[in-house]
């Protein structure tokens, strides 16, 4: 045991709260459950901040590298003589940073939900699930080994399934939760195989061993190749596919927009700040390994990130559901983070991308949670998700308006708000490594500013809409989290990330890169300006543009028909051409023919009714055919 043993409590408290509310929640008033959950998260937040302060500052000797500390670990299972599965807690710059992110956002969401979910059926259940989710997410980031991470990874999937499907009376929510679960499970398939391959090559699951400079993976660099890439590269690419699924990277993003059916605070927690960045965290966690042994895999990471961010930004411009705009925007911003990791090198100033990615993760968590919670406040007051039914809300919701504006400015990258700094570093890293990707991201910066302000002007300015009930500002429990997060969004850009979270633990010099910063602010300003002209007042301009862009606009509006494509493949091809015929074969050919024989014999011979269904001959026939086929294959052909 050591000075950090209290960090054990960080995941355990939410687990305890989950069990407490889950088992006894029905015995007392729902609001008590909410308070218990919130109090639990308060303690977690305090502990996380204590950890962060002592790890980053008080316990750290200036000028030395930040080391990773294994605070606690138990041997849980001896898989083979060399390979053990452990459970423990690992502290290093990125995990401590994630502790702060998760606990802050989760705590805010807990408070906010006291107001937002008030009176909902299943209030206690909601808090139980929230605690379960927080537990899984904290366990995920604190994992000492990739296997522990995988277990919590799946738990995160299960708890988000429960949370998205919370409105279980709403069919769309139910199918969305299932979609999210199954799509991410498909991606996890890659993750699991990646883990298996990696662990068999290196004989370890342990992060510290894997990423150390004498990593056992190094001896496999020149190993067998498959389709031109080494086995190790394949393993790490498969691991990345798992991360891409959770982080909604193209083309595994299809679940994210639909997941917006869940309660809005859930979106703020899961789909802005925590679960969706798990993929980024995973790559960051294994980053030294990627950069040492599988640079090819990093190229894939970079391009997937770049394409996703452009793709999502284009779609975001066409959505009318305010939560969906935010969902696509999240996907786009995570694309930024992935890209930054993909273009990064290891150590010193080369690791700029790594630092920028984590920084953007941090600032994004603040401003995107803020935007989601703001959207929640809007939905709460006008009872609609559709921005076409909104307008002029700045008069009714002053606090929401102001904080939402801060969020929009931050994501657009306007200095001196935090988004500016982190995005600037990403762009600088991209420019350094890959001009093509830089061009994409530069463009995306402009589009981002445009669609966010399209949303902003549509909702808060524009036409004066007639509302059934006059919209009113939300209660304090909802506006205080907005203010806190706005504070974070404004000031987290001043944190010295280049000293705290770097690829090799050592600080390096980073400064604002004016040749990148000035053009990027300009394009953001341009995006805002276009949005201002188009949406500030009710006008016909957007309609005109939509008609002039024609097919492209329609394509984007329909999300480039990705869902249709998936549906086509699963329903039309797999279901219709494989599953249905097989079932049809079972029912009609196997059963049907035999039933027919059975029934005719039944008519003919009352005596042996029921004993002679007739199907057995068919079974025997298939049986013998199968055995003979095996003989032919394995004796004569093999």
């Amino acid at each position: 045991m050591n000075a950090y043993s209290y960090t054990l409590l960080i995941p355990l408290i939410p687990l305890f709260v989950f069990l407490l509310i889950g088992l006894t929640g029905h015995k007392y008033k729902p609001s008590i459950s909410g308070l218990i959950g919130t109090a639990g998260l308060l303690v977690v937040t305090v502990l996380s901040y204590m950890t962060a302060i002592s790890y980053f500052w008080t316990d750290h000797i200036a000028g030395t590298a930040y080391t990773s500390l294994k605070v606690f670990e138990i041997d849980w299972l001896h898989l083979t003589e060399f390979l053990t599965i452990n459970l423990g807690i690992l502290l290093d710059p990125i995990s401590v940073m994630m502790l702060v992110v998760i606990s802050t956002v989760s705590f805010m969401v807990h408070i906010y939900s006291l107001g937002y979910m008030k009176g909902e059926k299943g209030f206690a259940r909601f808090y139980a699930f929230l605690s379960l989710f927080s537990f899984s997410m904290l366990g995920l980031v604190l994992a000492t080994n990739i296997f522990q991470m995988y277990i919590f990874w799946e738990l995160v999937g299960v708890s988000s399934y429960l949370l998205i499907g919370f409105y279980y009376t709403k069919p769309s929510a139910v199918s969305a939760s299932k979609k999210a679960f199954i799509v991410t499970r498909f991606a996890d398939l890659g993750f699991l195989i990646g883990i298996l391959m990696l662990s068999f090559m290196t004989n370890t699951f342990d992060f510290q061993t894997l990423v150390s400079s004498d990593s056992p993976a190094l001896s496999h660099m020149g190993g067998a190749t498959f389709l031109g890439l080494s086995t190790l590269t394949w393993a790490l690419t498969l691991v990345f596919i798992g991360g891409a699924g959770k982080s909604a990277m193209f083309p595994l993003h299809i679940w994210l927009p639909d997941a917006m059916e869940g309660p809005t605070p859930v979106s703020a927690l899961i789909h802005a700040a925590t679960m969706v960045v798990a993929g980024v965290y995973l790559v960051a966690r294994l980053f030294p390994l990627y950069s040492m042994v599988a640079p090819d895999a990093l190229v894939i990471v970079a391009w997937v990130g770049g394409i996703s961010s452009l793709f999502a930004a284009i779609i975001a411009c066409t959505q009318y559901d305010i939560k969906r705009v935010l969902a696509y925007s999240t996907m786009s911003q995570i694309g930024y983070m992935m890209l930054a990791l993909g273009v990064s090198g290891y150590g010193g100033h080369d690791g700029l991308g790594f630092m920028a990615s984590n920084w953007h993760l941090f600032t994004h968590a603040m401003f995107k949670a803020l935007l989601f919670l703001g959207a929640g406040a809007i939905i709460h007051s006008v009872h609609s998700n559709d921005m076409r039914e909104m307008g002029n809300l700045r008069k009714y919701l002053p606090i929401t308006h102001l904080t939402f504006l801060i969020g929009c400015l931050t994501i657009a990258g306007i200095p001196p708000l935090s988004g500016f700094f982190s995005k600037d570093e990403i762009l600088a890293a991209a420019l350094h490594a890959n001009p093509a990707l830089f061009a994409i991201e530069y463009l995306v910066a402009g589009i981002t500013a445009f669609y966010m302000f399209r949303l902003y002007f549509n909702v808060f300015w524009g036409k004066s809409t007639h509302y059934h009930h006059t919209p009113h500002e939300s209660p304090l429990v909802m506006t205080i989290p907005l203010m806190v997060l706005a504070f974070g969004a404004v000031f987290s850009g001043f944190l010295p990330f280049n000293e705290l979270v770097t690829s090799d633990g050592l600080p390096f010099e980073a400064h604002i890169n004016y040749s990148v910063a000035i053009p990027s602010v300009l394009i953001a300003a341009f995006g805002i300006l276009v949005a201002y002209m188009m949406y500030r007042k009710e006008s016909l301009v957007p309609e005109k543009i939509a008609t002039s862009l024609g097919a492209f606009y329609r394509g984007a509006y329909h999300k480039f028909y990705m869902d249709e494509l998936y549906l086509f493949v699963t329903h039309k091809i797999i279901f219709r051409y494989i599953s249905q015929p097989v079932a049809w074969f079972d029912r009609n050919i196997v059963d049907g023919t035999m039933n027919l024989i059975g029934y005719s014999i039944e008519k003919a011979s009352y005596m042996i009714k029921g004993f002679q269904s007739g199907r057995v001959q068919q079974y025997g026939y298939v049986f013998v055919t199968g055995a003979v086929a095996l003989v032919i294959i394995f004796v004569f052909i093999w």
Partner: protein, 474 residues
């Protein structure tokens, strides 16, 4: 051979004695007292299960025909646990008036088939193996036809016995070829003379076909759905868990003990069968609406996974197979237990009838959810680790493509397992199955399954304990 040598086969002896005792007691009972046989049989079986866990040294009897070792004893204990759960779950069905004449039959037949499985596991030559196999198979037909006044049950019995006879014939043909080419039926002798000559491969394939029938691998699985659907639910769970588990154990043991020299060949055969089984089983399961048929097809798919561990042919593979079967016993019995409880209370078996079950019977729904999550392999419950170890062992043998296909199938299976969860928790129903209380033994059976699912998932000692026992075979 002295009297103590008989202790080596104490599982078999004790169980035969119990079966005879039950039979004799039943003779003396008046019709009105028949139901008292149930507690007697269950109590005796509990004692038997406990005795089974006493340490035993192992040894060889009857000139090498009968082997025993801690590993084999452990396999038998695994089966015992499963049978115990099934006996407990059968209670509410057995005491129904239509069964009152023949309650003891249920126990006696089940105990005799279990004895057959013990002999099969302990076999040291093909004769003992075959006798055990038939003892374990033929009476099951009687169990499947237990409710012979119902056409479907009778039909299940007949189908089972006919298919089983065919498979035995083919198996026996294979064994005769082995005897013809090697001149011995003792496992230890044959292992020295097995080569990849065509005739012996021929024999190997027929042996595999015969065993594939018992484990219900594609294309030898056609009987499964009909028999599972027609047989009484508790018999179905016996077939799908115990019978299949025992056959998998034996299959693995004989492949290792006898056919080890031609491992390359049977690995390829099992590779083919495994892929076919997982895919076909899943595709059928996707569209089933009857819960028993649904579980039947899903259990076919699960059998495909078992092969993954067998074909590895290493200590790791063996441990993972045994562990998987253990997790599979608990998970599948949890699911079957719920199905059986609901069938007994309301007579309903269709998945649509399960709509809204959570509202009326939350505990049963939660257990069902736990079981199907475990069958689908979602961490951290037992089934996940069962599958995980299988995948690990296959990956350690370099079978990456197979692992890929297997995980893909595990993901597809998640879809249909979620259908059950969706029905219970999400779908609406005007007239859900009303709330009911399960009786004490059934509840004990359900709790045992739930405990198993949890303990295996969270307590790693079980795996290590199995792992230590598998040393002996290699």
């Amino acid at each position: 051979m002295n009297i103590y040598d008989f202790l080596i086969m104490r599982h078999e002896l004790v169980l035969v004695i119990i079966a005879l005792v039950v039979l004799i007691i039943d003779l003396g009972l008046k019709p009105a007292q028949k139901r008292h046989i149930i507690p007697v049989a269950v109590t005796l079986f509990i004692i038997h299960t406990i005795i089974g866990f006493l340490p035993s040294s192992g040894g060889i009897l009857f000139g090498g025909m009968f082997h025993s070792s801690p590993l084999l004893v452990m396999m038998k204990n695994v089966l015992n646990i499963g049978v115990l759960i099934i006996l407990l779950q059968s209670y509410s069905w057995l005491i129904k008036p239509e069964n009152k004449e023949k309650m003891s039959e249920y126990f006696v037949i089940m105990f005799f088939t279990l004895t057959g499985m013990y002999f099969m596991i302990s076999a040291g030559d093909f004769l003992m193996f075959y006798l055990g196999l038939e003892t374990a198979s033929i009476p099951i037909a009687a169990l499947a036809a237990y409710m012979h006044h119902r056409t479907k049950s009778a039909e299940a019995g007949v189908k089972y016995i006919l298919s089983s006879a065919l498979s035995s014939g083919i198996l026996l043909f294979g064994l005769s070829l082995i005897y013809g080419t090697t001149g011995s039926i003792l496992f230890s002798d044959i292992a020295f003379s097995i080569t990849d000559s065509p005739l012996q491969i021929f024999a190997l394939i027929f042996f595999i076909s015969g065993m594939a029938f018992k484990i219900s691998l594609v294309p030898f699985q056609l009987w499964t759905a009909d028999v599972y659907e027609g047989a009484p639910t508790n018999v179905t769970s016996y077939l799908s868990v115990i019978s299949k588990g025992a056959a998998s154990f034996v299959f693995m043991l004989i492949l290792f003990k006898v056919f080890f020299p031609v491992m390359e060949v049977w690995r390829d055969i099992l590779y083919t069968l495994s892929i076919a089984t997982m895919i076909i089983g899943n595709l059928f399961a996707l569209r089933q609406k009857n819960m028993k048929r649904f579980l039947a097809f899903s259990s076919i798919a699960q059998a495909g996974f078992i092969l993954l561990g067998i074909m590895v042919g290493s200590k790791l593979g063996m441990t993972s197979v045994i562990y998987f079967i253990l997790t599979y016993i608990f998970s599948n019995l949890g699911a079957f237990g719920v199905v059986s409880a609901i069938e007994n209370a309301s007579g309903k078996l269709s998945m649509d009838d399960y709509n809204g079950l959570y509202k009326t019977n939350p505990k049963l729904s939660l257990l069902m959810m736990l079981s199907v999550f475990s069958l689908a392999g979602i961490p951290p419950v037992a089934g996940f680790f069962g599958k995980f170890f299988l995948f690990t062992s296959a990956a350690s043998a370099g079978l990456y493509w197979l692992v890929f296909i297997a995980i893909l199938n595990a993901t597809i299976s998640l879809y249909y397992y979620l259908l059950v969860v969706k029905a219970m928790f999400i779908n609406k129903n005007e007239t859900p199955i009303p709330a009911f209380k399960t009786d004490l033994p059934a509840r004990a059976g359900l709790i045992l399954s739930a405990l198993g699912i949890f303990i295996l998932g969270f307590w790693s000692q079980v795996y290590e304990w199995i792992n230590n026992l598998t040393v002996g075979i290699f």
